[in-house]
Amino acid sequence: MSKLTTVLALTFGCLLTLSAQAVEIRDHHKEVIGKDCKTCHDNGIKQFPSDQACLQCHDVDDLAEQTARSEEDKWQNPHNNLHYGKELPCQECHSEHGTKKPLCSNCHTFKYDKHKE
């Protein structure tokens, strides 16, 4: 499986009334997954995917390496951070069918320029 450069989680929450055809999907996920909803929705179409779903394709160690920061700011790495280490689930910051901000933004003013809302 190819590794994508950013972690993108899937959620169906606020779009329950729409058919599968109408939900928005990130372009790079369209290319890889197409219309196979069950690829991510391992808890059923009407539930959020498990936190393991994203890890079928994305490797957290690789991601932590890609988003590593200088020694001074090393714990601001979203994929290996001070409070949660590498255990911050993708879905806490990324949403497939909606938008989300980084969890860190609740308290901090860190810059996450590459984050796609």
Partner: protein
Amino acid sequence: MQTRRSFLKFGAGAAAVGALAPLTASAKSSDIKWDESHEVVIVGSGFAGLAAAVEAGKLGAKDIVVFEKLGVYGGNSTLNAGQACFADTDLQRKLGIKDSAELMVKDQLASGRGYASEELLRHSAELGPYIYQLTKDCGCVYRDHIINTGGTSATRSHQVVERSGAGFIRPMLKTARSYGVKTKTRHKFEGLITAADGSVLGIKVRKGYHTEHEDSGKLINVKAERGVLIATGGFAANVAFRQALDPTLGHEVGHTNARGATGDGLIAMLAEGAMPIHLSFIQSGPWASPDEGGFGYGAGFSLYNFPHSIAIDRNTGMRFMNETADRKHRADLEIQRRDKDGNPHPALLIAPKHEAQKDPSMENVLKYNVAWEFDSVEAIAKHFDLPLKALKQQIEDWNGYVKAGHDPQFGKRMDMSTGIYMTAPFIVQRLWPKVHYCQGGIQINTKAEVIAAKNGKPIPNLYAAGEVSGGVHGVSRLGGCSTPDCMAFGVTAARSMMKA
């Protein structure tokens, strides 16, 4: 007046219990379809929950589970400044600080203003040395610096090197897992399952829960063989609930808590007839900055600098409080800083750069625009539009107090500002309280057993520890005292369940 007011609030709490009681369901264990069964069931993955998990593991429990409703572990515990008050430690002795568990209890009783529980405080303080060692055994590393958190006779707040509660949580989580503890996120506690005699058989859990999606996941029944520990923290994030208890704590006052701190565990235990205690005693952090969310970096900066710095009212250019008094005293005064229209007008913490730069927090607050550097008193006065003449006089007076070792203005302890004069350049942070801790909660005893309102007796197999319990701290909790308390009662709950 206060006593009557407290009674009325208590009365309201009791009424709530009565109103909710008919909604509970009792059953026999054999009638329940159990989806899971565990020896020890712990709800919440903060200090109290993880301390209980580690202790139960040490005591030989074979099947321990920790449920966490959020997608991440640690609750508020992993977000705080990573401080813990311990008395008479090797580090204190090394730094020449004389202290004792007795003095610590005495300080906490004073802060509790007559409402704190001496029995519970003493129990916690006496477990202090054990807890201090337990944290180190888990791999926690402390700084060679102890912090004066305010309201204390001796400086005793030890801090982990991360300067964040994560410095406790992550090692403890790792240690718990090494004992085979099962840790599960996205498992929201929904309620207790009780027998006809009121004893607790297990809990209802929403497995696969996502925050703010209350119907997400599916409900399962979890059986607890030895007991259930509720370690779900406080309710500072529940604005409606806290404002009902203290009308001054509306949306205008933010909070330092994780978004999960909504009082779920407390409300479920109330529904089960547990005794509520001190629910309206809600504490705000006087060290918070309105220029960032939650706890942020400002808290660490102001905590370091309060002892040798001054807090200035922008209307008068003068001090308005003892900057190291206990939190309630300071927060109450800070929230009164208003402009002529009655709107919040945050006070200023003015620290001398020569001292502020000795702590890593200064770099962070400057970098993230939570504090600013000024080359002169004139620059501060101009930037914040406050009376220059009065401010200059205040700083001159303050330097006189430093020299004399005595603060006649507010009686501040001057032993931590010896030789530290207020000279330019200055680092200035704005101060506005944020709801931080709920002293109130469910009544427990020294075995961490939950007490029933109906008869004052323990509810069998139900335990509570940490911020979800009440009565320990009284009106005002001293800074750094929650961490050891949460852990002490988590350990206590584990010992009770394991009959140790």
